[in-house]
Symmetry: C2
Subunit: 449 residues, 2 copies
């Protein structure tokens, strides 16, 4: 789990208080790897080692610890040390940490921070979750139009240590209104003409996010325009901060995990699975569970409706779960494949004839195969070979129905502007359960009279 | 769907062959936005407009068209134009396009490319799918140790137009062996000391990917070390190319879509849903469908085993699908939540007691609620209120079992080194189906004797 390669050496160095070696350890490696080697240490040991790194480097190394570990480390340390560290962290990360640490801990640390950092934290905290504002960091390279390429580079050199990313310079006027963007690439390739001004080389058509934008909208835009970072502005186009690519990857992960949850008929949690309140959890699951429950209730009435047949051919009952689950499983396979294909943009509405064509073929293939197995088993259980025939015919029809529902509903829902991931599997399950029973009994009637 | 805002103007400009305005259109906006405005045009119109952009810009704009559209555009255009464009595309993107375009089209275009591009394409094509080699681009900034900061910046300025990203400079020796990395940030902040050499400021502990590494391993490393790009080396540590952040996002999307498919018991397609062969598709679905089918077959034997009871209390049959689906749905909810929580790192093995504690509470809550509804309905269907009691007790127990199986199995499988996403839902379904029936009949026995 941890990389324990250096643990003994580290502990020796600490025991011997070997400053030279410990400084070397903090400095020499990639900061991420340094953190990896330290994960095995106890919290207090981590703090001891970190003291041998200069503040910037210390924050950098700390940044690579797992989120939960960061929290415990901040809870364990003397508040002075914690504050000194937090001061150096990227402003978006530190807000997340402060929001999640215990209230009284935060109250100990906040007063120790410089006024401007405190203000910055409070400002960022004020933005609602899942919006651009909550994702952004306020450390952004803002420069003025009249600067020349050379001046801009030098200014950048001065600022770079404070900035989370320096790959875009944003050009603002004296009211901090966003006027344009210059990528470091443009800047560097403009070095031949060092006296041109940012105003001359900047791109004035800036792709930006509104501070109130939903985080998924932002992530989508960053991906579409293939950006390393996106500036965040208010309605007056004043530059407030930027969102960097690493935060975007997190959003994509979150979004797709939510899809997977919707597919399994859970309202997305939008929060840590272990932290979200049990009431919320129950509600988000109970909602769909109840809807599915009522769908399933119909099957009870359907079966009751077929009381006579079930009485006459009692053995039919034994195959009910098999038939229902065969239909449900093949349906949820189709639905999931179509949903994921739509999310990735592989399938558009206009493709539905092709999707159905392929589904039909696959469904008949799979259906026939399972039908044969089912028939083999039915021969043992059913009173006569003729009776056993009911099972394969039913299985084939139910599986084909399942696949077609599963493949069609997501496309239809998407078309209706509903969320395919949320609506489809529950509906497929419900429809296929009841269909399965109706088909089953009617095939039985037809064959057994 | 498309942004049609400019279509009329664009067509007018084309009709009037208004060079000035068309050049302005190609140049003024963000390239991504330019592409957006052009999506509504016919293929030949797109080509006409693109002719008014200089080659580099043309390739940039083209890069923002949707993948499928890129292919059709390349199929439609005169091969000379296509070749000229492909020459300018990032080397990883153009390989993908050439691999997907019709064979004879590729044969028309390839000979028109400069020898070195052709070599580069053939080399990249030689790497197996889903490996670092297949993802990487060969345009990478390689510089030598002895260069000074100032020299490096100027060199970078010269190269930048050819490079996909310039945010890391890789320091190589005369045999192209990777010696170190310097981020543009370090370079820019070293401007104060312009005579220091790259060798002095570079970080020699470089996080790199092996050309044969699996793409998910690479993506994971890029995320963990929060990189904008990762260098790709061969076993001899010779630098072959880099993988950029945008490719990493694609991998993450792919990987999570595969998880969703596994959760629904489909072997991940690893390919376009509409393109993958029907045999492959059937096989990847049939595999698990069959396993689930055999699991469900057990229910048939179980029910047969309870022939007597089912004969005595025929009405019990009507609730079988309801009970099974209630258990299955709650189980797959739990499994999916735990799986997604493990993928996102929210849940580790050591958390399982907490997970179970919470599951038990939620399960009893949801179970009791649905049990009450079930009881209400049973009162109408069952012969006596006492008999109706069977339903709520069964529902509660089945839902609790479902949640516990669903929450436990993924953790256990992960612990056993199996893929939780792949194993869990099928197993949960199978176990809960059979459990449900056993519980149901035994509660009935106990209450009705």
């Amino acid at each position: 789990m941890y990389n324990t390669l250096f643990l003994p050496e580290l502990r020796e160095m600490l025991a011997a208080a070997n400053r030279a070696e410990l400084e070397e350890f903090c400095q020499a490696l990639n900061a991420g790897r340094t953190a990896e080697f330290m994960e095995g240490l106890a919290d207090d040991e981590v703090w001891q080692v970190l003291q041998f790194a200069d503040p910037t480097r210390r924050a950098e190394i700390f940044g690579y610890f797992p989120h939960q570990r960061k929290l415990t480390l901040l809870e364990q340390s003397p508040s002075a040390q914690a504050a000194e560290l937090i001061e150096e962290l990227p402003s978006d990360d530190r807000v997340d940490l402060i929001q999640e640490m215990s209230g009284q801990r935060a109250d100990q640390i906040m007063p120790l921070l410089p006024l401007e950092d405190r203000r910055d934290i409070q400002r960022l905290q004020s933005y609602p979750d899942e919006t651009a504002g909550a994702l952004m960091t306020s450390e952004v390279a803002m420069l003025e139009e009249h600067l020349t390429v050379r001046e801009a580079l030098e200014e950048l050199g001065r600022q770079s240590s404070e900035l989370e990313t320096i790959y875009y310079l944003y050009v603002v006027d004296d009211k901090n209104l966003l006027r344009g963007v210059v990528s470091t690439r443009q800047l560097v390739s403009s070095l031949k003409t060092p006296t041109r001004t940012l105003g001359e080389i900047m791109e004035s058509d800036v792709i930006a996010a509104l501070v109130s934008d939903d985080q998924e909208t932002v992530a989508e835009r960053v991906e579409r325009f293939n950006l390393l970072a996106i500036p965040v502005v208010d309605s007056g186009r004043q530059l407030l901060g930027i969102i960097t690519h690493d935060d975007v990857i997190d959003v994509v992960r979150e979004e797709l995990a939510e899809d997977a949850q919707r597919i399994a008929a859970v309202e997305p949690l939008e929060g840590n699975f272990l932290k979200v309140g049990l009431w919320t959890l129950s509600w988000k699951r109970g909602l769909w569970l109840t809807i599915l429950f009522f769908a399933a209730l119909l099957t009870a009435f359907a079966l009751r409706h077929y009381e006579v047949e079930l009485d006459k051919f009692a053995w039919l009952v034994w195959f009910i779960p098999l038939i229902i689950s065969a239909g449900g499983n093949s349906g949820s396979q189709s639905a999931t494949l179509v949903i994921t294909a739509m999310t990735s943009g592989e399938v558009k509405f206009r493709d539905w004839p092709e999707v159905l064509r392929r589904e039909v073929i696959v469904a008949f293939g799979l259906g026939s195969f399972l039908a044969m197995i089912g028939f083999a088993v039915a021969l043992f259980i059913a009173p006569s070979p003729r009776a056993a025939m009911v099972i394969p015919f039913t299985l084939l029809s139910v599986i084909v129905c399942g696949c077609l529902c599963g493949a069609t509903l997501p496309i239809v829902f998407k078309r209706l502007g509903l969320d395919p991931a949320m609506m489809s599997n529950p509906f497929v399950a419900g429809i296929v359960d009841i269909l399965g029973i109706v088909i089953y009994i009617n095939i039985a009637r037809a064959l057994l009279g």
